[in-house]
Symmetry: C4
Subunit: 235 residues, 4 copies
Amino acid sequence: MSNNPYKSIKEQAYEANMALPRLGLVLFTFGNVSVVDRDKGVFAIKPSGVPYELLKPKQIVIVDFDANVVEGKHRPSSDTKTHAVLYKHWEKIGGIVHTHSTYATAWAQAQRDIPIFGTTHADHLTVDVPCAPPMDDDMIKGNYEYETGFQIMNCFKDKKLSYEEVEMILVGNHAPFTWGKDADKAVYNAAVLEEVARMALLTEQANPQAPRLKDTLIRKHFERKHGPDAYYGQE
Amino acid sequence: MSNNPYKSIKEQAYEANMALPRLGLVLFTFGNVSVVDRDKGVFAIKPSGVPYELLKPKQIVIVDFDANVVEGKHRPSSDTKTHAVLYKHWEKIGGIVHTHSTYATAWAQAQRDIPIFGTTHADHLTVDVPCAPPMDDDMIKGNYEYETGFQIMNCFKDKKLSYEEVEMILVGNHAPFTWGKDADKAVYNAAVLEEVARMALLTEQANPQAPRLKDTLIRKHFERKHGPDAYYGQE
Amino acid sequence: MSNNPYKSIKEQAYEANMALPRLGLVLFTFGNVSVVDRDKGVFAIKPSGVPYELLKPKQIVIVDFDANVVEGKHRPSSDTKTHAVLYKHWEKIGGIVHTHSTYATAWAQAQRDIPIFGTTHADHLTVDVPCAPPMDDDMIKGNYEYETGFQIMNCFKDKKLSYEEVEMILVGNHAPFTWGKDADKAVYNAAVLEEVARMALLTEQANPQAPRLKDTLIRKHFERKHGPDAYYGQE
Amino acid sequence: MSNNPYKSIKEQAYEANMALPRLGLVLFTFGNVSVVDRDKGVFAIKPSGVPYELLKPKQIVIVDFDANVVEGKHRPSSDTKTHAVLYKHWEKIGGIVHTHSTYATAWAQAQRDIPIFGTTHADHLTVDVPCAPPMDDDMIKGNYEYETGFQIMNCFKDKKLSYEEVEMILVGNHAPFTWGKDADKAVYNAAVLEEVARMALLTEQANPQAPRLKDTLIRKHFERKHGPDAYYGQE
């Protein structure tokens, strides 16, 4: 693979995919990560149905933004068109993750946004985690995975959200998608989402009337990590 | 064991049994896997009560479809007659798994079908996971494990289900059985069932009125994995 | 320790104690196992407050049935008197385990017997897991751990239970005790109890009206493991 | 680092921080431990945002009780001012831990004290685990982490609690803080709190009317571990 022009994103995609089982976010093959190369107009994605313990970097498939395979011997993930649509329209994202992680998927199946109950959530986003409604029958019967991408984008439009500020969504009845400036950040977001989903479920069990986090705390925690005067982490 | 005519299915049964503790599906000896050899009219099954950490391939017991031991020094699993009945009547299954995995068993004890709430479920079956009612007292007092096999088949008849399409069942008050074209698929189904059972319980906790998955989505997800134009996995 | 007359039970007690963290039944030092030597009229028990990762066989303490230290440099478990009372009065038990395992302790804190909902439970006992009521203030202020032993025995008398048939109890507001013919069986029972407690809680969540297991099934499952014609396990 | 005057507390802080992921108390960087040196008037704390798997002893930052960095190249934890306030005003504590552990955080988000339901809790503290209310908007918009320290101290004053007897708190909508005579004890308390939080949630699920532990049992269990005649552990 030494002369392969996609070597770098294939290896990045491989490493990011392998982080999913290590973080407890996937059972068998229920998940996939992709990494984009904006200059070449392609992304690298997990081959469909290959178990993580057998996955090799060279099996990663290279696909363009219309979901055509550009390089690779394997069939790409069955969710490839969803990734393609998001890369095409959201021009600043560098990596996308799809999992069926347990708690996030339970909220998606419950068709509920995940309420912002605490600072663990507010450290990462200032709104409830959005849950897109299930698609219309026309969309499902049509180009399903392609339409899933539009369902995600439409949900962000309807709720007036920015994909640069909110890097995660639940697709109703289905499961979560997360993204970020690169694949590592997208994987990080997938793990954060799962923990936030779990804490929110337990919070409602401890107190069915648990109040949403108040606005001043939402703002404070988000800004200390992400604002102009952020003081979390190293410079 | 080099000349043993059952060497192949004994080794397959050993490997498939050892996958159960690795997947977190059994405590102590609460589970068993069998592998059939249709040509010879026998199946290989775990010996009763032998801890997984001590199990050896040569201890696997060979049994015919009337549950008579054909080869092996150990007593076969106490659930052997249930396996025998299913192999005898369902002619296309190649492996069977029985576990007491935590969440699937909780639904069996609750005597409820597991509602189809999302695509994780629909990727594997298009109906609620069936729960057979507890047996009549006559059946229990009679040839219990033998009757368990018929209880499973009767439930499929009553609900008009095909064992080739639905590869799992909960036996009310007891625990799950899964099967498949081979033992690996049956083990895979046992792990999928446990995860689906867990997600469904959490879904109802997040939303007691969570709606069943709509038919178009059920159909779409099942067909992308199993339909004539399936595009999941490698060819 | 080669000439130590208690070498055998000290080593057994060491091994059985070390099984608790491996089975996920203890946090830090919240548990202890003892092993009796009926001929010598003593038992071997974990020293108090020693972390499992530092525990050595020679640190195990030898105590008589009045809880006097017979051999050993360490102070025995703070629950030693409870063990002593049970060994003194229940003459056929060979090992005792005390843990604060999560789900069993939750039921003890809820002050509820664990309902028998399925065959996983019935494979081990034919009744609800008993929960002894919290002690009277007089008993608590008196010889507390000694009285805990009597509280356990009184609960069995009140409920007309046999300690040879039911090898586990919850002490209300406190935590579980289990026992058996030897320490390995007592440890096994502690792990079974934790799993039964977890399944029962999940069962009530899946169906708040879940019915108790019917008597014919209780009887059938118990007898196939423990009756005169038992056919579970190897002879 | 051999001549570094803070070598000892840096190494202690390193070891105590590394215990958090081992005990399952942190995801990514969501937690920090500090160790004080009262003679030098400084404490050692985790650098902000450094992943545990990359953390090195030399990266630990030395800070005084007004939160000024005294030694170290990294920016200290974003929660440093909270630690500084507690060290300055509570003169007998030697270590502080902050985590976002799942169950304790759920109770903090539910804005509820954790009821004392059993002896696992009473072995460590004689009161419900206090939950400080969310701060006023003025405090949040001001010197937030500094004010968090005062919010903790004010909660103890309002509830007439002693920080030497009660070594843990939930900060409403946020997450837990624990402390102790040294960092190891503070880490121990963080793990105990998480387990107590989990057991209490499960207790209410098993019995929504579960009664608080009665006073005689609270007193008895605490005193056998901490009273003048304590008989738990080795002398």
